[in-house]
């Protein structure tokens, strides 16, 4: 038996907990038993600097008692401890105020096809062959430290930190309405971070990373090289006068602009009048060529999942269709509070459909011509009620489709609905390792200040 997967006895314990909660007076119970194992090797300047090994188990309970609701968890999975814990938990829920809108999702809404946990092919057998020697080998192969002098032109490498990790995650969700759903996933990740110093003594840092559910799809050998190149590309930055420019946002950081939209479409924001997209369902708020989908069922893709945090079955769906807001993310509870139909509690795997015929960032830059390429955001925030934002950016001035110079110390400001209405082109370069599939995005007339 593989120690890192939920065993038959642990599954029996989860069922026992559900029965115990019902026995103590709960009218509805959801049990979420999870188990994960992660191994990590860290390299500092070409030498092994850290190794770690971690095995986690956790049992979470959502209890519905006398029209009241509470959530509880423990990693002390001895039966005697759990029995006492559950008894106290039920007593605690009874002290809360009544909330008739709380309930488990209806049985017909929950996932029925998450049986083995590997229906989405996210568990890779290659995980079982991993050992500490192989992990060290991969981590060391990702580094460029030994060959750094060959790349040092006008700078020296001060530090290189690389980290390889692999993990397996296994979760079983049960509820007292009959839900039984399993999800199992492996993950292989590599990340390198490099700090360089130019001849004037100024420091620059950058990173590169990759991740996959299968080792054979992980690219690690060029990770250190890419991090170093990205750091070197930032040397001798400056700023340019503020004004309105075309903005191209690299796929690497584009989620910064999409995540606030998805949050604003979530029940927690909408129900609290804390969403700049309140009342937007069914309305044409964005350009007709903008399509954003939730695609939770793509096999082998990071982020795919057959059920949400309530066990509700996910499905492929439009979030924005032809520019029209097509979906709110409403849990059972939030939907009842808002007197609407429930959906799922969050966007599982957002996909922005490419616009135009540019495959790569480089072809997108050529097509746009002049503007500012944003390769990273440094600080800033947005106002969830108004949609106003202000972010620090770093990137490059673009002339005739080419990077002319690195930029620092600049800001973009605006509001999200207006910004997305300025979208006019994208690449088709979303990286498979990302759970949100957002290509590089091109906007016109964005306010930059410096």
């Amino acid at each position: 038996m593989k120690e890192y997967l939920i065993s038959a006895s642990e599954e029996a314990l989860a069922r026992h907990c559900m029965e115990e909660a019902l026995k103590n007076g709960a009218s509805g119970v959801r049990v979420n038993l999870s188990k994960s194992l992660m191994d990590l090797v860290g390299i500092l300047n070409g030498e092994v600097d850290r190794v770690s090994h971690s095995l986690d188990r956790s049992l979470q309970l959502s209890l519905f008692v006398d029209g009241r609701f509470g959530t509880f968890s423990s990693n002390r999975l001895e039966k005697e401890n759990l029995d006492q814990f559950i008894q106290k938990a039920v007593e605690t829920v009874r002290m809360l105020e009544e909330d008739p809108l709380r309930s488990l999702p209806a049985p017909e809404r929950v996932a029925h096809d998450a049986v083995s946990g590997n229906e989405l092919e996210l568990y890779s057998p290659s995980y079982e062959a991993m050992d500490s020697a192989r992990r060290r080998e991969i981590a060391l192969e990702s580094c460029v430290w030994e060959h750094r002098h060959e790349m040092e032109k006008g700078f020296s490498v001060l530090s290189e930190e690389c980290e390889y990790s692999d993990s397996v995650y296994d979760v079983l969700m049960l509820d007292s309405n009959g839900l039984e759903a399993r999800h199992r996933e492996t993950s292989f990740e590599i990340g390198c971070e490099t700090t360089i110093q130019d001849e004037g003594g100024r420091l620059y840092e950058s990173y590169w990373w990759d991740a996959s559910t299968a080792l054979e799809k992980l690219s690690w050998k060029d990770c250190g090289v890419k991090a170093l190149r990205r750091a070197a590309a930032q040397m001798n930055p400056g700023d340019i006068p503020g004004g309105r420019y075309n903005m191209i946002v690299d796929t690497e950081c584009a989620s910064k602009l999409l995540t606030p939209l998805l949050t604003a479409l979530g029940g927690y924001s909408l129900q609290q009048n804390n969403s700049f997209l309140a009342g937007s369902l069914g309305k044409q708020l964005f350009p007709t060529f903008l399509n954003i989908l939730d695609r939770p069922h793509d096999k082998g893709c990071s982020g795919s999942r057959l059920f949400d945090s309530e066990g509700v079955a996910t499905k492929e769906d439009f979030v924005i269709k032809d520019g029209v807001v097509s979906k709110y993310f409403l849990s059972t509870y939030m939907a009842r509070k808002m007197n609407m139909e429930p959906t799922v509690d969050d966007c599982t795997r957002a996909v922005v459909e490419p616009i135009g015929n540019c495959d790569t960032l480089e072809s997108l830059l050529r097509e746009v011509g002049d503007g500012i390429l944003v390769t990273g955001f440094n600080g800033g925030n947005s106002n969830s009620a108004t949609g106003n934002f202000s972010y620090g950016i770093e990137g490059f001035l673009i002339k005739d489709g080419k990077r002319v110079r690195p930029l620092r110390g600049m800001l973009i400001t605006g509001d999200f609905p207006a910004l997305w209405n300025k979208l006019f082109l994208t690449a088709a370069d979303a990286r498979p390792c990302m759970t949100k599939q957002i290509p590089s995005l091109a906007f016109h007339d964005v306010d930059f200040s410096s």
């Binding site: 090994h53 990693n75 605690t92 530090s159 620059y204 609290q272 925030n381 108004t386 800001l411 400001t413």
Partner: protein, 479 residues
């Protein structure tokens, strides 16, 4: 809270001979140092939404982490059980960082073992009413009264979310110096978020308080303080505009704007970044980093403060550390690894989120000490610029020192007076340059009591503070 030793050995089911044996096992391949960190944490929470306390819960977290250091290299493993066989497995996994034999163990760092037992009389966070013993029945009325107080203060309130979170953590720490330390840390946090509506527009404000103390913190005066802060400046929020951007003088208001000091300077003083040469302050020890008269402190000794510690997570006594004295950089913030690297004593900054993590240098309560200037005189001296008293988000690049902070509230300064409220703008600059550009420091140090959490690799509770400070040249991103 510091209980008798037996309280902890009973919870974790270990005694000193077993701990010695475990350390021997972990260091059988050599190494320089080993420590074992036991944790027993219970959390509780209650949430009020839409006028009722309709969700709550409790959580248990229990386990032990074993760390082996081989010089500056770390082997780490943890178990969620103190079963001897599972702890032995952890010791074996952590031992993998070393590749020698037990005889390869070498003296580690500037060995300054503190052999004394924890002293309950020196406890920095005694609880008068323990969270574990207090009843939910006591907590519900507090949140209900808090909501009523908020709604009674402003008719524009449309939504109130109020949360109470509390925890108690018991720790037992043993290391290869044969030091055994123990501690229990309470924490209580109340946070409110309020949404207002005016003329079809919505705005939100929030307020929080967090201390290492027991349930005695839940008083009527806390309700008044939080509700006043949550609604107090909503007129300004609706009236606030984005100002024109550009480079200008900035007055940082006393208190919460100390988060800029934490992010833009404090992280760069953490010794792990400097040991690796990746901090902008890596070659600045003993050098002037800001004008004379400025003292910057990281303090773990403030009674009841969210960042205070009787012992850090390496068993080093909590202490007050001056990083900058009279403008000169005099100390980094050290854990045991960096202290050994620099040949100094650890400063009690070795902290971790839980037993699942190895400790790293982290801040506690970071602040600048008061200067001599009257706060109003700073605004006059600025002439034209921006006054900022709350930031809602910030980010810094440790190597370059570049920072960007989102201004939650502030004012324009025109002709030496506060005029139009401003919001939703960023201030950007460079940490070392901003330190050098300080023109004057007010005499009004305020340590903010909000629920600050630092997220450098791991989440740990901290606090921050600053007196009013005038900086001559920062970039403000405006309309």
């Amino acid at each position: 809270m510091i209980h008798p030793k037996e309280y902890y050995t009973a919870i974790f089911g270990v005694d000193r001979p077993e701990l010695r044996s475990l350390v021997s096992r972990a260091m059988r391949r050599g190494g320089s140092y080993c420590d074992i960190f036991f944790e027993n944490t219970s959390y509780g929470s209650l949430s009020l939404r839409d006028g009722a306390v309709t969700s709550g819960g409790s959580h248990q977290d229990f386990g032990v982490g074993i760390r082996v250091l081989d010089g500056e290299k770390t082997g780490y493993a943890y178990s969620e059980s103190t079963n001897p066989a599972l702890m032995a497995d952890c010791a074996d996994a952590a031992a993998a960082i070393a590749s020698g034999t037990a005889t390869d163990v070498s003296p580690y760092g500037t060995r300054r073992p503190s052999r004394g037992e924890p002293n309950p009389a020196a406890d920095r966070y005694p609880e008068k009413q323990g969270w574990r013993e207090a009843s939910m029945h006591f907590f519900l009325p507090f949140l209900q009264k808090l909501e009523q107080s908020i709604r009674s203060k402003d008719k524009r309130v449309v939504k109130v979310i109020a949360n109470l979170a509390f925890q108690n953590s018991d720790y037992l720490m043993y290391n290869s110096f044969d030091e055994l330390k123990w501690d229990s840390r309470p924490m209580g946090t109340v946070a409110v978020q309020v949404v207002f509506s005016q003329d079809g527009k919505y705005e939100n404000q929030s307020a929080s308080r967090s201390w290492r103390c027991g349930a005695e913190m839940l008083t009527d005066s806390l309700i008044e303080e939080l509700s006043s802060e949550a609604v107090g400046r909503v007129d300004e929020r609706f009236a606030a505009r984005r100002p024109a951007g550009g480079k200008m003088k900035v007055v940082m208001g006393a208190g919460a704007s100390g988060i800029l000091l934490h992010e833009a300077m404090g992280h760069a003083f953490e010794a792990d970044f400097n040991r690796k040469g990746t901090s902008v302050f890596a070659d600045k020890m003993g050098k002037r980093v800001c004008p004379e008269g400025i003292f910057i402190v990281d303090d773990g000794t403030i009674p009841g403060n969210r960042g205070s510690l009787n012992y850090d997570d390496e068993g080093v006594p909590g202490q007050k550390t001056y990083m900058v004295e009279d403008g000169i950089l005099t100390s980094y913030l050290h854990d045991r690894i960096s202290a050994a690297h620099y040949g100094v004593a650890p400063t009690g900054n070795g902290r971790r989120e839980s037993f699942r993590y190895a400790p790293i240098p982290r801040m506690r309560a970071t602040y600048m000490e008061s200067g001599v200037a009257c706060p109003d005189s700073l605004i006059k001296e600025a002439g034209n610029g921006i006054y900022v008293d709350q930031f809602s988000n910030g980010q810094v690049k440790i190597g370059e020192g570049d920072f960007t902070f989102f201004v939650k509230s502030g004012f324009l300064i025109e002709d030496g007076r506060l005029t139009m409220p401003v919001k939703d703008i960023n201030i950007i600059g460079n940490g070392p340059e901003a330190l050098k550009d300080i023109i004057a420091v007010g005499n009004d140090l305020k340590i903010d009591q909000g629920a600050w959490t630092c997220g450098k690799e791991q989440s740990v509770p901290v606090s921050c503070g600053i007196p009013s400070v005038l900086i001559k040249n920062l970039t403000v991103g405006g309309a």
